[in-house]
């Protein structure tokens, strides 16, 4: 549809994965995006996992109790922490991306990112404390 030459290069074909995730020598924006994509995908994965696990309920009490026991193990709690990090990061960065993407706070995007991250860090610490103490 566009009457322009493609930016594809036969000698150096595009490598989309690298373009997105090779963040060496890239700045904040790329790191933020790469992490956003990873956490986004992680969250989708988790959603499925979550449904699979919930479906254990359908198989009766024994399986569920065994799972709850597993879920109380430190390793599992650590994974919870990672999940919480993912949710918090993705959600907060998502707010920034959503705002900036519609043209609000563009010049302040860096400050916005770090402000949200400070809030995120506080939330994360509080949540992890709750996870390990309750």
């Amino acid at each position: 549809m566009q009457d322009v030459q493609s930016t594809q290069d036969t000698v150096r074909p595009k490598r989309p994965l690298l373009a997105w995730f090779d963040v060496r020598s890239r700045k904040l924006g790329s790191w933020a995006f790469a992490l956003n994509r990873l956490t986004g995908l992680g969250l989708v994965l988790y959603l499925f996992l979550h449904l699979v696990i919930l479906s254990l309920l359908l198989r009766g009490e024994a399986g569920w109790d065994a799972f709850i026991k597993l879920a109380r193990s430190p390793l599992f709690l650590l994974m919870d922490a990672v999940l919480i990090f993912g949710i918090i990061y993705h959600g907060l960065n998502g707010i920034r991306v959503g705002m900036v993407g519609l043209g609000y706070g563009v010049r302040a995007q860096r400050g916005l990112f770090w402000t949200l991250m400070v809030i995120g860090a506080a939330l994360l610490v509080a949540s992890i404390w709750l996870v390990f103490t309750i």
């Binding site: 566009q2 030459q5 989309p16 995006f33 993407g101 043209g103 563009v106």
Partner: protein, 240 residues
């Protein structure tokens, strides 16, 4: 003070099966830029090394390269400031390679000109100054020097070969922001598609590498705001 610096330079000649890197050692002093080092290599060691350059002061935009992995104008990067014993020099990404450090700018310029931005804008420098007799207002060139660094650094351009790219959309925003020979509608329509402003993922790499204060990412976001605004208004039956 001169220091021997090794350059690892990307090489490719048409007909080669694949690109490779060559190493050259060049004495560099505190004034030596990466561009001068490349020219010294061409003069003293390998006359076949191909590179683009013209103004030598960050004004023409031809000398863009990836220096130690980062998009830069090689004419303003001093070798010794890099602080690495080996300096890797590669051509820009996301444009077809011609040879060695030279890429084909055709696709860049096709996109860049599509927004029809005039190259002369109002000067905002020395705002209090009154223009001299015979001159209505001070004018100057647009900031963008058409170097393509932004396109090379942009991860979306790294995956979508049709992407309009940051510089072209920054030009579109300029055509909207300061309409000089039109109303900017053409530019707005032009970016309003899946290879245009909506494709951008707000990585800000373009603005990070831009050597000429264009801030293309902000331009793209402003285009989006404008487009979102007018489609919202349309939703409520208001036409502007």
């Amino acid at each position: 003070m001169t220091k021997e610096i090794t350059f690892k330079v990307f090489r490719y000649k048409q007909g080669d099966p694949a690109p490779h890197y060559d190493r050259f050692t060049v004495p560099c002093d505190e004034n030596t830029t990466v561009l001068i080092a490349m020219q010294d290599i061409r003069r003293d060691q390998d006359p076949t090394l191909m590179l683009r350059h013209s103004c030598h002061h960050a004004s023409c935009g031809t000398c863009g390269m990836r220096i130690n992995g980062k998009e830069e104008l090689s004419c303003v990067v001093k070798v010794l400031d890099l602080g690495t014993p080996t300096v890797t020099v590669e051509p820009l990404e996301n444009l077809p390679l011609i040879s060695d450090l030279v890429v084909d700018m055709t696709g860049f310029y096709q996109r860049y000109t599509a927004a029809r931005m005039p190259y002369i804008r109002q000067s905002e420098f020395n705002p209090g100054a009154e223009p001299p007799e015979g001159i209505d207002r001070y004018t100057r060139y647009e900031n963008c020097i058409e170097c393509g660094l932004c396109l090379s650094a942009c991860p979306v351009a790294g995956s979508d070969a049709e992407y309009l790219g940051p510089a072209a959309m920054a030009a579109a925003w300029r055509a909207v922001e300061e309409p000089r020979n039109g109303d900017g509608k053409h530019a707005l329509n032009w970016v309003d598609n899946e290879h245009g402003c909506w494709r951008c993922h707000i990585a800000f790499e373009c603005s990070e590498v831009c050597p000429s204060n264009v801030d293309p990412a902000a331009g793209i976001m402003n285009l989006r705001r404008k487009l979102t605004g007018s489609s919202l208004l349309r939703l409520f039956g208001i036409k502007r």
